[in-house]
């Protein structure tokens, strides 16, 4: 671990990402870092003047991981000496956390801590929907998606407006994005319509993205309605009693029917009933029910608490997941479908890569701090650097504008 921090961890990039410019500002110096040491010792309220200081401390503590918190009104390391009233969180990236465990009730391939390429598609769909919504609807530009090292994904939004959001505004934003609600005991978890109206525009566009996912992932791949438990869950979501009874009878008689067939059965039943001269109302209800089913199975399931409060800590990118050894690398949302969690470099792999190339140049003892360039970590650090460039550019523009206004 120590070698990883000393030679590979991109402190400089992380610093600039948090700081938005090269010279240290409050964005970095007033920022909380929390370390988790071996034996679950947890150290909160650390802060550092610059990247070197952070690196020195990380190397001396050698934590299993560390987390990044908000920018406070005073330096977190001085917390004990300032008045409590003068120490409050001010700025914070808007963060999101999607975890595979929230999908346990609908995924059929794995459960708990496991993840495979098949169930990664749930995450992929969630990322695409969220990325689109946050860019289009909220107008954010600087989104960094980071694989959490095991079975989830984090999102950090560094736009200035996002940093400045109050807790109340964060709660509102999460409310806007949250569709799946209700616990285990609630069958229908999607309740987004006001009266009997159609889907709100924002969700209508999400629905368009998710409908194909529903067919490919839920029906064809995951076979969510294959087991009795699975189809019962589906039947609970259908508002028409006759149809439910017919389908249950049919499926109990031939439990081997694929999910594809079952979905078709449902569509047939609806068509049959509406051809019998049922009212428009019936058709509208069934369309709504179908849309709700698609959303319930595919819409992003957010861990809302993470996003609502400025002072929530979140694991820093490029940390190593203690259980899997995988590095928390940034992910490009445009190629999220093809991302393979199992291919993410682990810390052991990286160190052995380093050993095999190390003796070539520079001679003995020289520890270059961009050793990551010679390992498979390279593309990921470059991805972060490219993201950071965007932030630097933004800061430069803003300063220019401020200069002109004088």
């Amino acid at each position: 671990m120590l070698a990883f921090y000393r030679r590979l961890y991109p402190f400089k990039s992380i610093f600039t990402w948090l700081n938005h410019e090269h010279a240290p500002t409050k964005l970095f110096t007033h920022r909380e870092f929390a370390f988790t040491l071996q034996g679950d010792v947890y150290l909160r309220y650390n802060s550092f003047l610059n990247a070197e200081e952070l690196k020195k401390q990380v190397c001396s503590l050698n934590p299993t991981r560390f987390e990044i918190g908000p920018v406070y009104s005073a330096r977190p390391r001085d917390k004990k000496t300032v008045r409590p009233a003068a120490f409050s969180p001010q700025l914070r990236e808007l963060v999101f956390d999607i975890d595979m465990t929230d999908y346990d009730s609908i995924r059929t391939c794995c459960s708990g801590a496991d993840i495979c390429e098949r169930c990664w598609q749930f995450i992929a769909a969630a990322v695409r929907v969220l990325d689109r919504a946050l860019r289009d609807q909220f107008g954010y530009k600087h989104l960094l998606w980071v694989y959490s090292g095991r079975r989830g994904i984090h999102l950090w939004i560094s736009d200035k407006e996002a940093l400045e959001l109050t807790d109340e505004q964060r709660r509102a934003l999460v409310g806007w994005l949250t569709v799946i609600q209700g616990g285990k005991e609630m069958h229908k978890k999607v309740n987004v319509r006001m009266g009997s109206k159609s889907l709100p525009p924002s969700l209508a566009s999400a629905y368009k993205m998710l409908e194909p996912v529903f067919h490919d992932l839920i029906i064809a791949d995951q076979e969510c309605f294959a087991s009795e438990e699975g189809w019962e869950a589906l039947l609970h979501l259908i508002p028409d009693k006759d149809i439910v009874d017919n389908l249950r009878e049919k499926w109990e008689a031939s439990p081997g029917r694929s999910s594809e067939d079952k979905w078709q059965d449902l569509e047939d039943e609806v068509a049959k009933k509406s051809s019998k001269g049922k009212s428009n109302y019936f058709q509208a209800t069934m369309t709504a029910a179908k849309e709700d089913i698609v959303l319930q199975y595919t819409y992003p399931r957010l861990d809302a608490e993470v996003s609502k409060h400025r002072n929530h800590l979140l694991k820093a990118p490029f940390c190593v997941h203690p259980k899997t050894g995988r590095v928390c690398v940034p992910v490009d949302p445009r190629t999220i479908d093809r991302f393979k969690p199992a291919r993410v470099p682990t810390v052991t792999q990286l160190l052995s890569e380093l050993d095999s190339v190390a003796p070539t140049e520079n001679g003995a003892g020289a520890e270059h701090h961009s050793d990551w360039e010679r390992t498979s970590l390279k593309p990921y650090v470059e991805m972060l650097d490219k993201h950071v460039m965007g932030l630097l550019e933004e800061t430069r523009k803003m300063k220019q504008k401020a200069d002109l206004s004088w």
Partner: protein, 485 residues
């Protein structure tokens, strides 16, 4: 009484906004007020206090309404008589009323309370919430034309969305033309965003005209929040004489306990002469939890400590127990004590509380506020307010023991305990009153008449007796219904 910075800021604002256009001779052209400028004329200390107290009564009622989960509609109904009584505010069409005086009172009251409530984060939050609700009530009841005029007198920094934008964003399902939409930054209308009542595009929220009030309220709220923080910062530097600080202290305490109503002996006359042996039955039927508890302790221990005697004794006095009966009552109650000791140690005490000894002051019974805030009970004491001074477990079992036979069930406990936990002790007490008097037709939210909360133990007992009397009389009269005052 104004901080200089506040004054300067408002003066600055004046210049920026230009003079507000007035179409009448009124000093306050509108019924609604965003309270940009503090009052700058001389205000007498009496006016300073009364304006604030009256407004506080209104705000305290709003707050307890929240604690009781009233809907906005219920709130409107409950608040109407209270606003009319304490803070009447007529529209411009009410020619006969001195509207300027009403509005001035509103204005002064608001700014006095700002001073009282800017001091802690918690007080600020509660004050902003209550004030915003009051504004909302007034906004909703305001005359449409006047409201329009008021809105155009301020710059709300909203942009009307163009028809093209609307076309693009809101796919019209039917042929009807979409209404007006206002375009603002989404962060200004978080409540609408949370409920998906707007359309979002590139960080801008398109707010339908029907939700316009939300922008105004949000603006009012953030405006007030900012100003309160400024006031809080300026307050320590206020070169103030000593007259105002005690008033402000008192006011901010009032929020915790509800404002004490001036409960005095006058109402005691309502009851027929009370005798010592009636107290047991009376306590069982009519007393609030604090007095029930004292009574039970007295019967169990045959004794009460000093503050317990004081709290209970004054309560009984106001209830209508005469001095002679009081001496009988206490003498019997302290059954383990010898005559000699009683006469030496307690008789004086009791006569004193009736104003017959010492400085002969006519002591009033303690209000909820006093019980909650002063003379905190120590170990072995049984006075105080059970809702505040009992542990959660003890409170639950005590309430069920006391009021189980009056219709209080354990199903009611979660609601009551939640209000207690939130620190709304008088609300919890009021709720218990409502539940235990449901048989006499008291509905939820009605409180001790007209939606008022319990602010005084005697008020609780008097209302309870009144209800009983009405119920007895009903058989004869036919239609004596309690509809609150």
């Amino acid at each position: 009484m104004l901080s200089r910075s506040e004054y300067r800021r408002s003066a600055l604002k004046d210049r920026k906004d230009g003079i507000v256009e007035t179409h009448s001779h009124l000093k306050y052209p509108f019924r609604l007020n965003f309270y940009d400028k503090p009052p700058i004329e001389d205000i007498t200390i009496e006016e300073f206090e009364t304006c604030a107290l009256d407004r506080l009564r209104v705000l305290a009622e709003i707050e307890s309404s929240y604690a009781r989960n009233r809907t906005f509609k219920e709130l409107t109904e409950v608040m109407e008589p209270i606003c009319k009584k304490y803070l009447p505010l007529n529209s411009n069409t009410a020619e006969t009323v001195n509207r300027d005086a009403e509005r001035r009172k509103d204005h002064v009251g608001h700014f006095v309370l700002r001073l009282a409530f800017c001091r802690s984060e918690d007080l600020r939050r509660r004050f902003v919430k209550a004030e915003t609700t009051l504004f909302r009530l007034r906004y909703a009841s305001d005359d449409t034309a006047e409201r329009e005029a008021f809105l155009s007198s301020r710059n709300f920094d909203w942009v009307l969305a163009t028809p093209e934008e609307i076309q693009e964003l809101i796919p019209s399902t039917s042929g009807e033309a979409p209404g007006r939409y206002y375009k603002v930054k989404w962060t200004r209308v978080p409540d609408l965003v949370e409920k998906r009542r707007v359309v979002l595009k590139g960080g801008m929220a398109y707010v339908p005209a029907s939700e316009q009030a939300s922008i105004v309220l949000q603006e009012f709220q953030s405006h007030l929040e900012k100003d309160l923080e400024m006031t809080a910062k300026a307050l320590p530097r206020l070169d103030e004489d000593t007259r105002i600080v005690p008033i402000l202290d008192n006011l901010s305490k009032g929020f915790l306990a509800g404002v004490s109503s001036e409960w005095n002996n006058a109402s005691a006359a309502a009851g027929d002469a009370l005798t010592a042996d009636m107290i047991d039955e009376m306590a069982y039927k009519h007393f609030p939890a604090c007095m029930r508890n004292l009574h039970m302790c007295l019967r169990r221990d045959k004794h009460l400590k000093h503050f317990g005697r004081l709290q209970y004794g004054l309560f009984l006095k106001v209830l209508g127990l005469s001095i002679d009966e009081a001496l009988v009552f206490w003498r019997k109650a302290f059954s383990k004590i010898q005559d000699d000791k009683f006469n030496k140690e307690y008789r004086y005490n009791i006569r004193h509380s009736y104003g017959l000894e010492g400085k002969r002051a006519n002591y009033a019974a303690k209000s909820c506020q006093q019980i909650l805030m002063s003379d905190q009970p120590g170990p072995g004491d049984s006075h105080g307010c059970p809702y505040r001074h009992f542990s959660a477990d003890n409170l639950q079992s005590a309430l069920l023991t006391m009021y189980g036979e009056h219709g209080l069930t354990s199903a009611d406990m979660p609601e009551i305990m939640a209000t207690v936990k939130a620190g709304h002790y008088h609300v919890a007490c009021t709720r218990v009153f409502e539940i235990t008097h449901a048989r006499q037709g008291v509905k939820k939210g009605e409180g001790v008449g007209g939606g008022e909360s319990v602010t005084h133990p005697n008020q609780y007992a008097a209302r309870s007796r009144e209800l009983e009397k009405k119920a007895e009389g009903k058989d004869g009269d036919g239609d004596v219904m309690m509809q609150g005052a």
